[in-house]
Amino acid sequence: MPDSRSSADVTVHLVYLARLREAFGRAGEALTLSGGDATVAAVIALLRTRGGAYAAELAAGRAVRIAVNHTLVGGVDSAVRDGDEVALLPPVTGG
C-alpha cells in the first residue's frame, strides 16, 4: 500500500508468555508503531532497540514465535493492525 495510511499510528497489545514474561518483567504492554511499517518485523525491531533482555531474547536466531489475534503467523512480514493482540511465544513445551 502506498502512502495513504503511512501517517496513521498503529497500536498493538503485546502479550509476553512464559520465559519471555519473566525476562521482560511484565505480562504485556501497548506498543505504538509509527511510520507506516505495521508488521511483526517492525514490532520486533522496535523492542530490540530497548536493549537488555529485549535485545537478548529477541536476537536473530532466537526461537520466538508470534501469534496475532491468537493465530500463529507464518513470518515476520505479516501485517499487524490497530488493536491487534500480538503475542510473543517461546518454543512450546506442552504434552
Binding site: 508468555l17 512464559a18 501469534a67 518454543p91 513445551t93 506442552g94 504434552g95
Partner: protein, 155 residues
C-alpha cells in the same frame, strides 16, 4: 470433537467411555496419556508447572484436531490438557481417538500428540533442587512433527 484445558485431573476410562458413547461404528479406540516424570535432563523434578496462553490454547487445539480429522478416517477425538502445578506421576495430557479400524486411530492419536507438542501454546517450568527452570523445547519433538509433512501447508 472435544478439547479441554483444565487444572483438574481426568479419569481416562470415563472420558473414553463418553467418547465412544454407544457408537457402534467404533471398532478401535487409541489413547495416549502423558505423565510427569521425576527426572528430566539428569535433574530431579519435584514439581512441574504448566502455563498456557488463554484464548489461544483452545483455538490451537481445535485447529490440530480439525487437521487430524481431515488427514485421517476417524470418528471422534478428544484432547484434555492440564495446566497449573503438577507433581511426578500426575497426568498431564489425554488424547483419545475413535475410528472404525486401528490403523487410522493409532496414526491420528500419534499425529495429535506430535502436533500438540510443537504447536499448542503450553510451557513447562520445573522445580529442581537447583531452582526453577523453563523446560527447553526438544529438537526431537520438531522432528516427530515433521514426519507428518507433507502435505504442504495450504494456507
Amino acid at each position: 470433537m472435544t478439547v479441554r484445558v483444565q487444572t483438574a485431573d481426568f479419569d481416562a476410562g470415563r472420558e473414553i467411555a463418553a467418547l465412544r458413547d454407544g457408537d457402534a461404528r467404533v471398532g478401535a479406540v487409541a489413547a495416549f496419556i502423558g505423565t510427569v516424570r521425576d527426572v528430566n535432563d539428569a535433574a530431579h523434578v519435584s514439581t512441574l508447572t504448566l502455563e498456557h496462553y488463554p484464548g489461544m490454547t483452545e483455538k490451537a487445539l481445535e485447529a490440530i484436531v480439525a487437521e487430524a480429522t481431515t488427514r485421517f478416517d476417524i470418528l471422534d477425538a478428544l484432547v484434555i490438557h492440564r495446566v497449573g502445578t503438577l507433581a511426578p506421576t500426575d497426568q498431564i495430557v489425554l488424547v483419545a481417538v475413535t475410528g472404525g479400524h486401528r490403523g487410522e486411530a493409532f496414526d491420528a492419536c500419534r499425529f495429535l500428540m506430535d502436533y500438540l507438542k510443537t504447536r499448542a501454546p503450553f510451557w513447562k517450568k520445573e522445580t529442581t533442587p537447583e531452582g526453577a527452570r523453563w523446560v527447553d523445547a526438544r529438537a526431537s519433538d520438531d522432528e516427530a512433527a515433521a514426519r507428518w509433512e507433507p502435505p504442504a501447508a495450504t494456507r
